[in-house]
């Protein structure tokens, strides 16, 4: 296990309304050690994401061959599999289908150079839990891995969400910052709820687009940024302490 080398960087831009932190947060106490298998044949990408995920505090095995990947995945217990779609000897889709055929339900994040809508559906139909198109930023991968690691807890039905002095009542649709009521539009409410439910975890632009509006393509305008800044102007700006952080190169997060 690597020693953690993450750095925290606070960005002091004039009028900065957001805290910018960079990459690694030390292994979270509440989060258990996540065991990840990466099956990726690319000699640069494989080691890079492996070391990045290790820095995030996960324990990571890396194999570069489809067959080895299948053997490794069936003989050792993993929390998450990261599988490249095109692999020597046994391609990623076949590997995934074999695992799912054997009733192995380990969450799988599929990496691929194929970006068509049809390719995505094919991957998800084969049993992938998430699908990431190359090239991707490491932050995107890390955020999606975190989401997969926490997947089961998403089913919990909470009606009262809280982060520091922010309280969100989902039933009465009320948001309080301390004693001050914050008036939000439905779309702002949905965004805040999404971030609060995943407190402590980074949500990337693409994850937000998919989750909030079911958008699976990359808009050319800063749609997510605009929505977040709207939300911030109501939830954060009037108050001393800012809750919504920008994670550089990745996305947004409400600190735990």
């Amino acid at each position: 296990m690597n020693v953690l080398t993450g750095t925290i960087q606070i960005c002091n831009v004039p009028n900065a309304v957001d805290i910018v932190s960079f990459a690694a947060n030390p292994k979270n106490q509440s989060e258990r050690d996540v065991k990840i298998l990466i099956v990726e044949d690319d000699a640069t990408t494989g080691p890079y994401i492996a070391s990045g995920l290790r820095e995030e505090g996960h324990s990571v095995d890396l194999v570069a061959d489809g067959k080895d990947g299948l053997i490794q995945a069936t003989t050792t217990e993993y929390d998450i599999l990261i599988v490249d779609r095109m692999l020597p000897h046994l391609d990623g889709l076949a590997l995934l289908k074999t695992l799912r055929g054997a009733k192995d339900t380990t969450p799988v994040l599929m990496l691929t150079a194929l970006s068509g809508v049809g390719d995505r559906i094919e991957g998800l139909n084969a049993g992938a839990d998430d699908y990431l198109v190359k090239p991707f930023a490491f932050g995107e991968l890390a955020a999606r891995v975190a989401a997969l690691a926490r997947r089961p807890s998403l089913t919990e039905q909470e009606t009262l969400l809280q982060a520091r002095d922010l309280k969100m009542d989902l039933v009465r649709r009320k948001v309080l910052r301390g004693d001050v009521e914050v008036d939000l539009l439905p779309r702002e409410f949905a965004l805040l709820e999404h971030l609060l439910r995943r407190k402590g975890r980074v949500q990337t632009r693409t994850m937000l687009l998919e989750a909030l509006w079911d958008i699976k393509f990359d808009p050319q305008t800063n749609v997510v940024e605009t929505h977040v800044s709207r939300l911030r102007s109501k939830v954060d700006k009037p108050f001393d302490h800012h809750l919504i952080e920008t994670v550089r190169g990745a996305g947004y997060r409400i600190a735990d």
Partner: protein, 443 residues
């Protein structure tokens, strides 16, 4: 079916002609026979030496003869009539009255022969009844043969037509599957099917096989390109990220690394868009088009883009009917189409203007249009902007790849929708006209 009716008609005409010919020949023969018989009779009577002797002969024969079958009438020079009937010529023909026990007017057709013998007028006539019977029999034969002939003709025609139409339907279905992108579709043909349809089916299958092969080759090539190009780009991105994380990096190097990252990102975006256009144009075969509410799509995207529009004091307005407007489509692709149109309007107009997303319907069609009050596109340029990577002079300085409208065109084409660019006086109006469908039953 039309073929079988023609066939039946042909049969009827042919059998009518052949029966008529037979009838005429047979009738002539019979008539001839009657005439010969009359001539023979007449020859016998001619042998009588005097009119009295002839009258006696006629009377003797008349007694044994049924006037309905054979008429004998001898008008003696004295004015007396011997025989079994009196025949009188009248304006409209002949009248024959039977003589003897039963004096009655005779009717029917007779063939007669009249000759002056021994100064008297002898008329011998034989009934034409056999001829009449003949006609009746032929008419009956004709009518009776007509019905089965017609039935057989229509039946055979129907069978042939059904056989043909089964194959036509099979060919039609195969062609429609092929156009919808399922290149593995083939016409199922029985082995014994020869003839035109068989040849067409074989040709369709051959065409599909070639098409499938070349598409597979194309897909393989684009997959290879995607893999071989994206993997190095991924590596460059990784390397840049590693540079960025290096310790004690001069400020300038960080800036350069960031710029390089941004450039790789734009390469990826352009590349992605080109690949996607190619995929959509190639007919993404494994996509199922489902009923989709255009109104809901419009309001979702208006909500998504409203804050972006408001940033520059623009307004995003949706004009749509209250009830859902259903079309058949892929939600992701149509979402991207609408997003591209809205982004296009946002990018190429001045701040503060209004952008409208409209849904209009007719009974058959539903049109999604996005119009802005910007500068618009000159008419002669409107087709050009749909071309890949084409950019108007005026917009070369604004961000964008010049692929947005090409993708819109490809997606519209994929949905069999008509894409038109018109003037919003001023500004640009982009219309996408779909076929409307009925509301799905599950809703």
């Amino acid at each position: 079916m039309r073929l079988s009716i023609w066939l039946a008609l042909l049969f009827v005409v042919v059998s009518f002609i052949s029966l008529s010919a037979t009838y005429l020949v047979v009738r002539d023969a019979q008539e001839q026979e009657i005439r010969v018989s009359l001539l023979q009779d007449m020859a016998g009577f001619r042998a009588a030496p005097t009119s009295a002797a002839l009258a006696a002969l006629v009377t003797a024969q008349a007694e044994e003869t049924d006037p309905e079958r054979r008429l004998l009438s001898y008008l003696l020079p004295s004015g007396r009539i011997a025989g079994n009937a009196a025949i009188v010529q009248e304006a409209e023909g002949y009248r024959a009255i039977a003589l003897g026990d039963r004096a009655l007017a005779l009717s029917g057709k007779y063939i007669s022969l009249t000759e002056v013998i021994n100064n008297g007028l002898l008329t011998v006539a034989l009934t034409a009844e056999p001829l009449e019977n003949l006609r009746r029999i032929f008419t009956r034969v004709f009518l009776f043969s007509l019905l089965p002939t017609c039935l057989i003709a229509i039946g055979i025609g129907f069978l042939l037509a059904r056989r043909a139409s089964t194959h036509l339907v099979a060919i039609e279905q195969t062609l429609s599957s092929l156009t919808q992108g399922d290149l593995s579709a083939r016409v199922q043909m029985p082995d014994d099917l020869n003839g035109d349809l068989g040849r067409i089916g074989t040709s369709v299958n051959r065409m599909a096989r070639v098409q499938q092969k070349s598409t597979a080759a194309l897909t393989q090539i684009s997959t290879d390109i995607a893999h071989d190009l994206k993997s190095p780009i991924q590596r460059v991105a990784v390397l840049l990220a590693q540079i960025r994380e290096a310790k004690d990096l001069p400020e300038q190097a960080i800036e350069l690394a960031d710029q390089a990252s941004a450039e790789t990102e734009s390469i990826v975006k352009t590349f992605q868009s080109l690949l996607q256009i190619a995929q959509v144009e190639g007919g993404t075969s494994n996509l199922d088009l489902a009923p989709l509410d255009l109104g809901a799509l419009a309001s979702t995207f208006a909500e998504i883009y409203a804050p972006v529009a408001e940033e520059d004091a623009r307004q995003l307005v949706v004009n749509a009917p209250e009830e859902p407007v259903w079309v058949k489509g892929d939600a992701t692709l149509l979402g991207q189409l609408l997003a591209n149109l809205i982004e296009n309007a946002l990018r190429h107009t001045e701040p503060g203007i209004e952008i409208c997303v409209n849904i209009t319907t007719t009974t058959k069609t539903a049109t999604l249009s996005v119009e802005d009050r910007g500068a618009g596109i000159p008419e002669e340029e409107r087709q050009n902007v749909l071309r890949r990577l084409y950019r108007l002079e005026a917009s070369r300085t604004t961000p964008g790849s010049g692929l947005g409208l090409s993708l819109v065109a490809a997606i519209a084409e994929f949905h069999d929708a008509d894409l038109t660019l018109t003037s919003a006086k001023p500004g640009l109006k982009v219309n996408v006209c779909f076929d409307r469908i009925d509301a799905p039953s599950s809703v």
